[in-house]
């Protein structure tokens, strides 16, 4: 399986992380999204006319939507699926349009109504915090239950990267516990802005 990848993209990381925790190897092809805008090159447009990243290619199959990629990667791993996943995949797309946009604005200078992007990001974070607090009251730590599903993997990157876009996460204790649980998953991989748990967190 080939992933056309950009190292700083939250959506690309979503797929790298999913594959890593499933133990499925991905062959990464670096695309120079910034500064060369290679995702809009003729070669990449031939693969994905929308000109977006990530792109996942498995033989003749080409997927260009990250939610579809998560479903595809877990097609044979039903423990990573829940009936509530779809609503959270839609929610994750909203996180990308708010917190993700604020991040691109702050890091790469993208045009954006930055105040509006941050404000709708904060609204989404509060919703996430309220839901995860309810889950804790029910004794479970993930979005749809006691174990993680594609819902958690989809919502994690833009949430954890919110500070890159000027949105702090200090005020969300349930969210922070949830992020820590995801960072503790076997096979977890990091990306710039999302650190692995330090060994001191688990002294021998």
């Amino acid at each position: 399986m080939i992933l056309y990848d950009y190292v700083l993209s939250a959506s690309c990381y979503k797929i790298r992380l999913m594959a890593a925790v499933l133990g499925k190897p991905l062959s990464l092809r670096a695309v120079n999204f910034h500064p060369a805008r290679e995702h809009k090159s003729a070669e990449m447009l031939a693969l994905n006319p929308k000109g977006t990243l990530p792109v996942l290619q498995d033989d003749d199959l080409v997927l260009t939507d990250s939610a579809d990629m998560l479903r595809y990667l877990t097609a044979d791993r039903r423990e990573w699926r829940s009936p509530q996943d779809d609503q959270w995949l839609a929610f994750a797309s909203g996180l990308n349009d708010s917190l993700g946009l604020a991040r691109l604005h702050d890091i790469l200078g993208y045009e954006a109504d930055i105040d509006a992007a941050r404000a709708s990001g904060v609204t989404a974070l509060r919703e996430l915090e309220a839901h995860l607090t309810d889950q804790r009251f029910d004794g479970v730590g993930f979005l749809t239950g006691a174990t993680p599903t594609i819902a958690d993997i989809a919502c994690f990157p833009n949430t954890a990267l919110a500070p890159d876009g000027g949105v702090v996460l200090d005020a969300y204790p349930s969210l922070r516990l949830w992020m820590r649980a995801i960072r503790s998953l076997p096979g977890f991989i990091e990306m710039p802005g999302i650190h692995r748990l330090h060994e001191l967190a688990h002294p021998a």
Partner: protein, 278 residues
Amino acid sequence: MTAATDNHWYPVAMVSGIDAPRETWLLGKKITLGRDNGACWVRDAAGNPLTVTERFGHLWTSPGQPNRALFTIPEADTPGRRLVDVGSVRVKCSPLRAVENFLDIAHFPFVHTDILGAEPHTEVDRYDVRIAEDVDEVWATKVKFFQPQAAKSASGGITTEYMYRVPAPTCAVLYKTCPPRPGEWDIITLFVQPLTEEWCEVWPWMALYDDASTMAEMVSFQQLIFMQDRSILENQIPRKLPLDPGMEVPTQADMTSVAYRRWLKKIGYTYGAQLVAA
């Protein structure tokens, strides 16, 4: 703002990235830049042209009268090197903090884990630092550090040798062991555009010997490294770089940083700096 700040060269764009005219910031003031008939130009807010030069893939300007020509990197011109335009990343930190972080080795195992450093190899051996009076630059030499993956072209852990050079207040040049060509130095630079005293645009640029990696892979590697630093930089306190000894206690590993701060004070460069003890 003083002449000590104005009369330096600053990077403001990647030459290959200039298409339509655009606005940006330099030292707290708006400037406009663009290209007409192949020649790049920069104007201040009043529309007056500023002096420009194109070098190392970037467009440089100065709001004042530069007291000397832009520094050179003769090694970068040797044939066979690949010149890498890494692009830019904006960081809410003092431009001087961005340079100082680039000069620091001790954070590698903790921030660039398993790439530029790894526990338990955390010790920074003694190295040489001097302010080269003849060229008025800061130099650190004989820096050695164990690195799991020193470059995109490295295929395993090696002890890397570094030389650091600060040829201008907001620019640093790193000469580093070149994994595929022992005996040559890879060149990695950090050119920092001070947007304001606490906000900067960072333009890394590289001149590497690497015949195996794609350009996208080399760019990704450097962006990954720099973005690992960004969140640390945005959380450093005090926001401005203290030039006077205060609450911080430097260690042996911080000799380059100490020399950089002393040199800034010596040349009177205080933009993004704090002069009262923290």
